[in-house]
């Protein structure tokens, strides 16, 4: 019996050693929802598509600068609504089917027609798609939009093979690859295996096989890394676990700026918060330092405007904490210690991770330090939460934003256009800001647009429909032998540049 046990143990150890170096194992707590670009609108599904499909445009590694991919070049006149794209003749699917202008048109039309979750990114902008010749596509917009090409960097515009894809419904399987990898095996919520696509027209991946294991929670992810089950953990370790790894020094830890932002939203038509003096007061009372230090142990970055740091157009205009100023403004609005403002402050306990309740608590305490506000903390699970903020029930609540495309426009228009602000639960509208945003969309020069966005950000300090709080950081912990980890501002995690050092 003892012998049998020893033999079993040795076989297991040999097995682990045999498979240790010819592939790389990634662990995550994220999940894949669907791999149809027409309906894919969550981080990890997009992540798989970004590594298995080729998109119209890509970002240079480590930057937010666009570069050609399937589209080898493009042209558009200043203030124009017409864009002409040249398709790379080498681009093809793994089965040998070409990616040409017809394929690009078929896919854009399909995504818009099927009206999946991300379809509005295209339908809000595109008027028509036209094939000019086998490798030339013309896209006409409804109105000038200088950030349009960035939108094509999102997976909703990534083409799939028309011969393998149903035209009138979403598919729930695996798309035929056109990117660096293909999906060799997918067990939902368990594991996905990516193998090198031999027909990819771009550079070959450094590691032939990538295995991604899905974990149910952050603590199991940590244990999996510590026990050697995985080579790297990406999304989402607990901030305290991340710090522990950092302090121990046995593993390589990586931090990078994330384009994700978090903010307080004020329902600007609510009884208590329709007065902008009150909103200003609350913006002076919040304590970003405490959130970043106490809740995130320094792994996040305070944010003083909607456009995240590191992106052009960013201008940190919101005030730092100043309790005296907050008190003075509350007094001006008619509140006092004897007649405090009663406000319901909402958060959702699991959608943004396990730290959310702590964030809400820290903010509530910071605001209550004015002595003139009573904060009633309330929470609801995400399904209920979204319903509440969309119908204007919640007067003050925490929300987050992950960009669809990397451009300041995606941090302005969805927040400040009338429909956008309503969809954020802010119910805010300002004609001057709308005109400035439209003007910025029409300007093709970055400098002109920067000036427009600076004016808007200055106005937001006065108007305060939102209080930006912090900007996320991306974190990754890996075995020291894993090379090529790059936490990019675009949040694209590229498996094809990862390798294991011998």
């Amino acid at each position: 019996m003892k012998k049998l046990f020893v033999v079993l143990l040795l076989v297991s150890i040999m097995m682990v050693m045999a498979f240790a170096k010819d592939h790389l194992i990634v662990g995550t707590t994220d999940k894949i929802r669907i791999l149809d670009p027409a309906d894919c609108y969550d981080y990890f599904s997009s992540n798989i598509l970004q590594n298995t499909l080729a998109g119209p445009v890509d970002y240079e590694v480590g930057t937010a600068n666009l570069k050609p991919w399937i589209f080898e070049s493009w042209e558009a006149a200043s203030n124009s609504t017409e864009y002409t794209f040249k398709v790379n003749k080498d681009a093809e699917f793994m089965n040998g089917n070409p990616i040409d202008a017809e394929v690009v048109k078929w896919n854009l039309d399909r995504s818009m027609r099927l009206d999946g979750q991300p379809a509005f990114l295209l339908t809000d902008i595109i008027e028509s798609v036209e094939v000019l010749d086998e490798y030339t596509v013309k896209i006409t917009l409804q109105r000038p939009f200088s950030a349009f090409v960035s939108v094509l960097g999102y997976t909703v515009a990534f083409p799939v093979d028309p011969e393998e894809t149903p035209e009138d419904e979403f598919f729930t399987g695996i798309p035929t690859a056109s990117g660096p990898y293909y999906v060799a095996d997918w067990q939902r919520d368990v594991r996905i295996v990516l193998e090198e696509n031999p027909n990819y027209f771009g550079p070959k991946p450094l590691t032939k096989t990538i295995v991604i294991n899905f974990y149910e929670n952050a603590s199991t992810l940590r244990l999996a890394l510590e026990s050697g089950e995985i080579d790297l953990a990406y999304r989402e370790l607990d901030p305290r676990d991340f710090l522990a790894f950092k302090e121990k020094g046995e593993f390589a830890v990586y931090e990078g700026r994330s384009p994700m932002i978090r903010e307080i939203v004020f329902q600007c038509q609510s009884e208590n918060l329709s007065d902008k003096t009150v909103r200003q007061a609350l913006s002076y009372a919040v304590d970003r330092k405490a959130i970043v230090g106490d809740v995130f142990a320094g792994t996040a970055e305070p944010l003083f405007t909607l456009i995240p740091g590191g992106m052009w157009g960013h201008k940190g205009t919101m005030p730092a904490r100043n309790l005296d100023k907050a008190k003075a403004l509350l007094k001006e609005a008619g509140y006092s210690e004897d007649n405090p403002l009663e406000v319901d402050f909402w958060y959702t306990p699991s959608h943004y991770g396990s730290t959310e309740a702590d964030v809400a608590q820290v903010l509530a305490e910071a605001i209550q330090e004015t002595g003139m506000v009573n904060v009633n903390l309330k929470y609801a699970e995400w399904g209920t939460y979204v319903e509440y903020f969309l119908n204007g029930t919640m007067e003050m609540f925490l929300l987050g934003w992950f960009p669809d495309y990397l451009d300041p426009d995606n941090y302005m228009w969805p927040f400040l256009s009338e429909a956008g602000a309503k969809s954020m639960g802010a119910y805010y509208q300002n004609d001057t800001i709308t005109d400035l945003m439209l003007q910025a969309r029409e300007h093709s020069e970055v400098l002109d647009r920067t000036i427009d966005y600076a004016k808007i950000q200055d106005m937001l300090t006065e108007e305060v429909p939102y209080v930006p709080l912090w900007q996320g950081t991306q974190q990754c912990v890996a075995k020291p032998e894993v090379q090529g980890i790059n936490l990019e501002p675009t949040q694209i995690f590229r498996y094809y540049i990862l390798s294991l050092e011998d």
Partner: protein
């Protein structure tokens, strides 16, 4: 009709209204509760017309009565609907997850039964001795330990410190091996892949032991308590007087006579575990039905939640009927 046949028929007929009430409650409660599934799906980014179109496409804008009729009609055809998030048939999604839960439950249950019955029986016939005292301490201690904590300690000790066993999942990545039935111990043997077979066993050890040990405390207390009562009965004294061996008295006579309440608890516990040992599955990232349901509840995926609970209800009802039948067979008085 024999009393046994009549009893079985009666139990099955009673289960039908019970099942119908249950599915009706699930349907209406899910719709009355706050939280719009379409909004949960789309978040705050989609415009109102997209939200409305989605609602129409999913049939959620129809009157609730009409939705219910459609739901029951589909259910009778065995169609549990399509997940609102993944757009895949719920039957398919559950069928993918169920083997993992069944495999874990079976092994966890076997461990619990072995510990519960043997230690409980030994404790009852050796009252106030070491085996009894240790059983009591074990049962109370284990009963008060949350399974996720116990699981994490096991992961830390055997997975991280000693490095003997994997901390999560059902199988490590083995190139060339693909699941067939979903029962990995069977699939790996069919495949003749012994590396995969041993890997599946190694992955099963920690979750099954954690689950088994935690449940064993309930069984141990049940067996011990019932056996103590039975061992004071006259027929036991008579058996002792006839010189029957102690072991035979305990396991052949006393245990059988104590078994009706024990079996009922075990059966119900088994049915509950089939519905997903949520905490164990979450702790060990075991891709079973429990973690599946938790995720669907978070996403407010009505169709998947309904479908999963219907399957749970069927399982619990079926297991209850089977236990009742076994009990009636062990103790004929139950039939009358």
């Amino acid at each position: 009709m024999s009393s046994m046949k009549y009893y079985v028929l009666q139990r099955i007929l009673l289960a039908i209204p019970m099942f119908f009430i249950l599915i009706s409650v699930i349907f209406f409660v899910l719709r009355i509760m706050p939280g719009d599934p379409v909004l949960a799906m789309l978040g705050g980014k989609a415009p109102q017309e997209v939200i409305e179109a989605k609602r129409e496409k999913l049939g959620l804008n129809k009157p609730i009565g009409e939705q219910f009729v459609i739901y029951v009609g589909n259910l009778l055809k065995g169609d549990l609907g399509k997940s609102m998030l993944t757009r895949r048939p719920v039957n398919e999604e559950i069928a993918e997850r169920f083997p993992a839960t069944l495999e874990l439950t079976l092994w966890g249950f076997i461990i619990a039964v072995v510990i519960g019955i043997f230690w409980g029986s030994e404790a009852s016939r050796n009252r106030e001795k070491t085996v009894d005292l240790s059983a009591r301490v074990y049962a109370i201690f284990i009963y008060s330990v949350p399974v996720f904590w116990f699981g994490m300690i096991m992961q830390l000790v055997f997975g991280v410190w000693l490095g003997w066993l994997p901390v999560s999942g059902r199988l490590e990545f083995i190139p060339g091996f693909y699941e067939k039935t979903g029962f990995l111990l069977i699939d790996t043997l069919i495949d003749g892949n012994m590396d995969a077979f041993f890997s599946a066993i190694r992955h099963l050890v920690l979750p099954a032991v954690s689950l088994g040990v935690v449940i064993s405390s309930i069984f141990l207390r049940m067996v011990r308590g019932n056996m103590i009562l039975t061992l004071t009965k006259d027929f036991i004294k008579a058996a002792k007087a006839r010189g029957i061996r102690r072991g035979a008295i305990v396991y052949r006579h006393a245990l059988k006579n104590s078994f009706v309440p024990i079996l009922t608890v075990m059966g119900l516990q088994f049915a509950l575990l089939l519905a997903g040992a949520v905490l164990t599955e979450t702790t060990f990232s075991w891709p079973g039905i429990g973690t599946f349901l938790v995720k669907k509840i978070k996403d407010r995926d009505f169709i998947s939640i309904q479908g999963t609970i219907v399957i749970f209800a069927l399982l619990v009802i079926s297991v209850s009927i089977i236990i009742d039948i076994i009990n009636a067979w062990i103790d004929p008085r139950i039939r009358y």
